[in-house]
Subunit: 456 residues, 2 copies
């Protein structure tokens, strides 16, 4: 049972009878839980509760609502209220929302925001310029940036002030910036409260700051967090100017999102924007049908191969028995290789420069695995009741399995590397595509081998 | 080029000529980078550099070394030095290491540690009791826990002290604990520095603390972090007693690790413990061969199905042409379903209780996708040059495609749910297994349909 189903009735009653009490009642409820409750309410009740909250909390809760609820709420309140709801949200979430709502509503809100808060509108425009999946798209410009001559005691005072006014996404990293907000160093809040209060920030800062550029892909940003165990990372342009900060909470979401996206792409589903149940049936059909029909048409080539070898099949019908097992073993081995390499690329353990190393390894791997499966196939084929020599069939099955598994391993490992080098997402060259390729190539190999051993 | 290759020669020269300077030279280098440099050095040089570092940094660097380097270093230094290296590490990393090294070495070190630092040894024993993949296995007992009556100014002083002595994994969350370390509330460092210094912690703390139990799976812990945007989460037993804290840096690693493990399992690879290149060829063969041979033997059942229908095939050889395309389309649709459901289960969007909802949706999905692909198959089969009516073949292909795709969607979606309900990892019931199942079932369906329409 969802939390909201338990709490919502009480909350609505309270809203009716004693609206002033709502704020106090919700004080201890986590913004995330509150968002869950509100998402399930009718829009007018949701708005009423948002209005009852202190400004700062309104923003926190708005940020955590589902995209659907956010759009409904923004659409149902007046233009002024919509702008004030927007301006309570933190800049990075605000941009994501504005990028996702219908263009007409977005433009109206932007015009309104321009009048109410020109600085926020300008900022929104700047942030919108970065791709949603880049460091620029993830960052917020609300960081603590202080002058190198600032004394430690004054820095603590400033952190207090910014934090009180909710002007910083994180106060646990304090960035030391020089002329033109050039990034000079970083001081953690931990170091700050430990330092001698009379020292300057330049004396206590760490100069070697791990940083990312606004163009960096969010997956690369996540790797940096994972590697250096960071709470936040500064986003810095090519001249060393600090543009904003990406915080670890956004990165946890990114990592989960990317893993889901990869899993879907690896199964030939166009990545969903919402969860499985939130995606409408029609959208899901569309996102699955696309690659499924491409694969179907691709695999139809196997019908051509088989048709072309009709006379061979007519002569030795027993060859048919092993068609599915041979193409499947190539496909399975290829699936293993592609998944290992795609994940390796995603976490940075493998790079396209490893081409020859991967090729050598997978060639040997294909021969080893193929030989093992070939022996199993040989044993099974030996028991086939057929017109021709069972030995010939068994040798054909074994040799074909070795060849097809090797092809599968090579194709499965090298295609993702090629994709990456071409600047495409390697997850596209995944299991179903490898399988489709191996189905067609596998049959060609099988018939070539059969003709050789059976003397057809 | 790796960083270490650039820096290592200079560093070794410095170590030779002016060992006192090493500490100063490395002061600005991030512990992670230092670990990378040291991992590539011969063990004796690595130990020399570790010895040159201040105690606190030694621990930080040790924690970040590869398991292999850690074990080599512990094995090569004297017993006393090994114990002091161990005790510099934070408790959670220490436990992971001790669980991974050879039992004999681990026992020797434990005995030694018992004499040198009985409290640390006791703690290590307690932490070892939790599974590596649980909240208990991830947590560290070094958190800031203060009495509810502590004044804010005194709390800040205490945080300073603990932080200076490196006694806390995170100081950004301060836990308020009562008699018997029962968790009463939490105060963020942010709230603490903002609060009136003369107030007590109980006046400023948040009582509704998001928490996990030591038995919670690490994937569930990661979901809690993602949902509530946390920096740290307290681990609390069933009586409400606080045992430790899990920090967000560990969770980022967990999420990446779990995604890799799932991707490998979904491609029928027994999950690797190391990266693709670090895993030896023999190990990789073993981890791939296991499921690959199970799948091969499973798919061999298709040979039995085909053998049993030998006379049908002999009569209408054209049926052979569509065998690969029919089984592949069922397999691909099944792969899509299983991947959607497995990811949905992993992130908690789908639960086994959604059984009927999923079944209904996937039944409709299978019929929709199957009909679409069936029409494509119909069109292709219509052009086959065959002895019998091409219409009959085309109808057979179309109907079988619909049936097999529907079977694929149902099997692909319901098997992961069944796995989860049985307490198994749903990622096991993945693409290759669905494909194998659909290969066999698909052929049975195909021949049944063929016999019906072709009147055989």
């Amino acid at each position: 049972m969802r939390l909201s189903q338990l709490v919502a009735p009480d909350l609505l009653a309270l809203l009716e009878n004693d609206p002033a009490e709502v704020r106090a009642a919700l004080e201890e409820v986590h913004a995330e839980d509150l968002a869950e409750i509100i998402s399930d309410l009718p829009t007018d009740k949701a708005v009423a509760i948002l209005r009852a909250l202190p400004d700062e909390r309104t923003g926190e809760v708005m940020e955590r609502l589902t995209r659907e609820s956010q759009v409904q709420i923004l659409g149902s309140v007046g233009r002024d209220d919509a702008v004030s709801l927007l301006s309570e949200m933190s800049p990075d979430d605000r941009v994501d929302l504005v990028q996702d709502i219908p263009d007409e509503l977005a433009n109206q809100l932007l015009t309104q925001l321009e009048q109410a808060e020109p600085a926020a509108a300008e900022e929104l425009r700047e942030l919108s310029a970065y791709g949603e999946d880049t460091a620029g798209g993830l960052m917020t410009p609300e960081y603590v940036g202080l002058d190198p001559q600032t004394k430690v005691w004054a820095a603590i005072e400033e952190v207090r002030r910014l934090s009180r006014e909710n002007q910083a996404e994180t106060i646990y990293s304090i960035y030391v910036v020089g002329y033109g907000t050039k990034l000079l160093g970083v001081v953690s809040l931990r170091d700050l409260i430990l330092a001698d209060p009379s020292k300057s920030l330049e004396d206590v800062m760490t100069e070697n700051v791990v940083r990312v550029t606004p163009q960096d892909d969010q997956e690369a940003v996540a790797s940096v967090f994972a590697k250096y165990d960071l709470n936040a990372v500064p986003v810095v342009d090519e001249r060393g100017v600090m543009l904003g900060v990406v915080t670890v909470d956004d990165v946890v979401d990114v990592v989960i999102e990317e893993a889901t996206e990869d899993a879907q792409m690896m199964a030939a589903v166009v990545p969903l924007e919402d969860s499985y149940f939130e995606t409408s049936f029609a959208t899901l059909v569309r996102k699955r049908a696309m690659w499924l029909s491409v694969l179907f048409v691709g695999t139809l080539l196997t019908a051509n191969v088989l048709e072309a070898h009709e006379s061979t099949l007519a002569t030795v019908l027993a060859l048919v028995f092993f068609i599915p097992v041979i193409v499947a073993s190539g496909g399975n081995a290829g699936a293993q290789s592609s998944s290992l390499i795609i994940r390796g690329l995603a976490v940075g353990e493998v790079t396209p420069r490893d081409w020859f190393r991967v090729a050598g390894r997978e060639l040997a791997m294909g021969l080893a695995l193929g030989t093992m499966l070939g022996l199993l196939g040989f044993a099974r084929a030996f028991f086939v009741d057929t017109g021709v020599s069972t030995m010939d069939i068994a040798v054909t099955v074994a040799s074909s399995t070795i060849a097809v598994v090797t092809v599968g391993c090579l194709a499965g490992s090298l295609l993702p590397l090629a994709m990456q080098r071409l600047g495409l997402d390697p997850a596209v060259s995944s299991t179903p595509f490898i399988t489709c390729l191996v189905d067609v190539v596998g049959l060609l190999v099988y018939f070539a081998v059969a003709k050789f051993f059976l003397g057809l």
